[in-house]
Symmetry: C2
Subunit: 203 residues, 2 copies
Amino acid sequence: MTEARIDFWFTMGSTYSYLSVMRLADIERARGIKFRWRPFHLLLILQDMKHVPFADKPTKSHYMWRDIERRAAMYGLPVKVPAPYPVKQSVTANLVAIVGMREGWGVDFVRAAYRRWFQQGEETGSEPNLSSSLRDIGQDPARILALASGEEANKLLLSATDAARQLGIFGSPTFAVGKEIFWGDDRLDDAISWLQHGSVRRQ
Amino acid sequence: MTEARIDFWFTMGSTYSYLSVMRLADIERARGIKFRWRPFHLLLILQDMKHVPFADKPTKSHYMWRDIERRAAMYGLPVKVPAPYPVKQSVTANLVAIVGMREGWGVDFVRAAYRRWFQQGEETGSEPNLSSSLRDIGQDPARILALASGEEANKLLLSATDAARQLGIFGSPTFAVGKEIFWGDDRLDDAISWLQHGSVRRQ
């Protein structure tokens, strides 16, 4: 394989993305794999598809939290479930994330925001999560929130979302190895296998 | 754990269930785990939830077949994708399956019907799949299809579907260890871990 990298496509309002956000750094270290973090605005794609996951589906939501709780335990990740959901302002968090990816502190912000959302019950995309997460990583909320509400951040996010749509992405997280996509935190091993062998093999 | 068994809840029109149907026998042998096969009629539950998976979602359907193809290869299972989908008469296949579970040839029927559906492109629940699968396993189609259209089979299937609903099941396959449910072929390892340790651990 010529691709030496996995694109990690995620949206800040996605619950299962917590499991990936919190473990990619360890996987990079342990397995020598490089992830490129790509925030996009999933809701735009789901609106096209007339589908919002878990909304008005209490049985499925209940299961989702239980599944996340069990798998977070498996990964050794602290979690307080249910976290606030659905998230009202995921777009703002995505805009901040995309500014951060450009400036170099995006991954730290995403991790801080997920930690506050899933460990302290602070809804992502709203205050106090936004400003506190920025302060946690040494960034000035006033400067960043101004950038995030500007035209350039909006263009970057729309462009990333178009690129996700072109790849056939419809959920978060999605891992992409070239044009091959793998949906769900539970497909990360499949994506790594594809990167290394060009096929999905048992790990 | 006092439970020494995993309930395998499945519906015959479910695509991902193919992956489980074809590998449970090997897992029983290799790991000494007993599965109880529980056909139910998922569409009744999905109608309650106003949700039919993959219908009118071409992007997601496309992904589903690719995902199944990659994972079937990982398990060493032959597969011709896309198989006919959605299935028009999954209820008939479920009725035959539930008669078979009572008479003792149910697992063989389910495997034969999935093999024809996923390896030969014969839609499950319709002819020729129904009668051919019964003949494959040495059963008389006329006798079985009469039983499957009778009141008793219908009652059994409704009762199994109610039991699934009570457990909070909303998809197929679902593995249940007591009241703990695990949705998806990709959660089978989690279910086995729960059975053996009472928690989800890395395998």
